[in-house]
Amino acid sequence: MSIIIRSSGISEANNTIGYIEHAVMAASACLNNTTTRLDEIDLLVNVGNYRDNNLCEPSVAALIQHELGINLNPLKHPVKSHTFSFDLMNGACGMLSALQVVHAILHAKGLKRALIVSGDCHPSTKSSADFPIHHTGATLLLERSNVEGFSRFSFQTTSSFEGQSGYLDLDTHKLHSRYSVSLEDSTDTENQFSFAKKVIQSHIEQHNIEPSSTKLLVSHHDASLVNRLGSTLGMTLASGMDSLLSIGNIHTAGLGFGLHKSIQELEQSDVLCVSIGSGVTVGCALYRQMVQS
């Protein structure tokens, strides 16, 4: 029981446009690579955290669905699948959480396809000196599979919170609240490394993963953390890691971007996907695609 990546797409970093526009471009690029029609998408999940205008309603997923023209009104425009969409938020680990949720929903409900969109922007949709995340978008199109793809998900969190906090302070920003956000980071990098190492090692042991023949894809922008994990665990980094580390902090889009850039490699070797986010939260999942003979 698994889910496979059928297609992927990205919208290159550009801090002059907002998240919804990036997500729509990444989703369009993803869908243009396939024969999948818009009315064949059963689920649309947005995992983007920081959004245009600090919108809190409706789900950003519904607005992206609207822009893409998916299941607008089945009474006027009959469709094959009645798409359901929602936002899932788990900071930098949102994509991995969404993959686990999509895996569960597609199998439990016998559905076929899901689109997961990710990325962030400053609420003004413009560049801001105090906002370290690059505006971008990364999308994955997933299909239910019984033999290959993502499986074996695990998440662990530390018992007291540390990491990135992002909030809008209505008292501070007052009439500028629609276009303001504050980010703080209480990460202890040594704790973060130790906890991530422990969680990944436990995942490797529990699922009998062979580190020497499995590539490591870590969704995090800190090159020293990523390289240290690779060398400590005795794992080679996935081919997309160079691009991911060179682009800098793209927060929720990291895993989707890294997978998009590693897409050829996914056909040749197993990839252990790891997300590290606020909490500290560490999530792991193995991607295994059967080698074509």
């Binding site: 955290n49 920081y50 205008n53 600090n54 919108l55 809190c56 309603e57 409706p58 789900s59 997923a61 519904a62 607005l63 669905q65 609207h66 998916i70 607008l72 009104n73 089945p74 009474l75 009645h82 798409t83 359901f84 969409s85 929602f86 936002d87 899932l88 938020m89 788990n90 959480s97 686990q100 949720v101 895996h103 569960a104 929903i105 199998h107 439990a108 409900k109 998900f153 998440f155 969190t157 018992s159 007291s160 919170f161 990135q164 906090s165 992002g166 909030y167 809008l168 302070d169 209505l170 008292d171 501070t172 920003h173 009439l175 609240s177 629609r178 956000v181 606020s278 909490g279 939260t281």
Partner: protein, 345 residues
């Protein structure tokens, strides 16, 4: 495998505000009676010291008190609040669910937040139901704390015309609810259907975001377009299809009650009339908590359910249809037959 509602939790802040008092503070005279249109006499309002998080934790603790599970037994925690507010801060990170998990001591639980407007709790139920059915977890808690009244205060300050887009904000109230699902259901105690759909054409007709006019979060709703009969036809169309897909019909399911999203009594009545025309029969009797609680957004169905259990209106064996109506727009059918659920007095 049969999934069930194992336990429920509710928290309502003590303080209340009446619709009459709110309307009397508006800058304009309204030519209509808001209480009469909506059925809302009053709503619960949080104290300044209360946050989305503290409301949710109160509901979570009540839910655990009514449950066979302890916090450390939970496999999953899904927080579904729209408001996500602690003090004057609206949080995007960390998730509400990790703060709830750490406070409850549910260290083994996987956690994430869901945001799906007023369909939040039912979206959480949809996801948790699938996580349990797929074998990823055996149980979990879906919860939401909503500190909505701040949006009503913004509307109170800014409404200057009877056509103002913030009128709907005057109906909201604060509340928190929680539900634990597990895989120990039976034929007589079951969550038998959770089907949800997003029809995105009207997605931009109801937008929540910080106001540019006065400091605070505002909800801008194009009510006439959003509640047009063409949009109200989406639910009966979907209900017809999802029950037909399982070889049944809404009529054959013999629901004892229908719990709609708590927008207002006139909206419920109009929806029922549209549905009757499409489906060809009268809907089951509807349950509301509008009079004392108003529209509690993502928590609304569970506020009604909890209060109906307290009042003895529903009990073991009662079969309910929960119907969301959320911006997006989200509609759907959630069918549940209740077991022996404990609730606080």
């Amino acid at each position: 495998m049969t999934i069930r509602f194992e336990s429920l939790g509710l928290y309502l802040p003590e303080r209340t505000e009446t619709t009459a008092d709110i309307v009397s503070r508006l800058k304009i005279q309204t030519p209509f009676d808001l209480s009469k249109i909506t059925g809302i006499e009053r709503r619960h309002v949080s104290e300044d010291s209360e946050s989305t998080l503290s409301l949710a934790l109160n509901a979570a603790r009540d839910c655990l008190q009514n449950s066979k599970y302890n916090a450390e037994d939970l496999d999953c925690i899904i927080s579904c609040s729209i408001s996500r507010r602690i003090d004057s801060k609206y949080h995007f990170e960390p998730t509400m669910s990790i703060l709830i998990k750490n406070d409850l001591g549910a260290q083994q639980a996987m956690n994430f937040d869901i945001s799906n407007a007023c369909a939040g709790m039912l979206t959480g139920v949809y996801i948790l139901d699938s996580l349990i059915r797929s074998g990823a977890v055996q149980n979990g808690m879906v919860l939401s704390g909503e500190r909505n009244y701040a949006g009503s205060e913004t509307a109170e300050r800014e409404i200057d015309s009877i056509f103002h887009e913030q009128f709907a904000s005057l109906t909201v109230g604060d509340a928190a609810t929680a539900v634990i699902l597990d895989d120990c259901g039976t034929e007589d105690e079951t969550l038998s259907m959770v089907e949800l759909m997003t029809c995105a054409e009207p997605a931009d007709l109801c937008l929540g975001m910080p106001s540019l006019e006065t400091p605070g979060v505002a909800l801008y709703t194009k009510n006439i377009k959003l509640h047009a009969a063409t949009n109200l036809q989406l639910w009966p169309y979907m209900a017809k299809k999802v029950f037909a897909d399982v070889g049944s019909s809404l009529e054959e399911e013999h629901f004892d009650y229908l719990i709609p999203h708590q927008i207002g009594t006139r909206f419920s009545q109009k929806s029922a009339e549209v549905a009757q025309k499409v489906l060809g029969f009268d809907l089951p009797e509807m349950l509301h908590s509008l009079e004392d609680c108003g529209n509690t957004s993502s928590t609304s169905h569970f506020v009604v359910l909890y209060q109906a259990l307290q009042q003895g209106l529903v009990h073991k064996g009662t079969k309910l249809l929960l119907v969301p109506a959320a911006s997006g727009v989200v509609t759907g059918c959630v069918s549940v037959t209740l077991g022996d659920l404990k609730v606080s007095a």
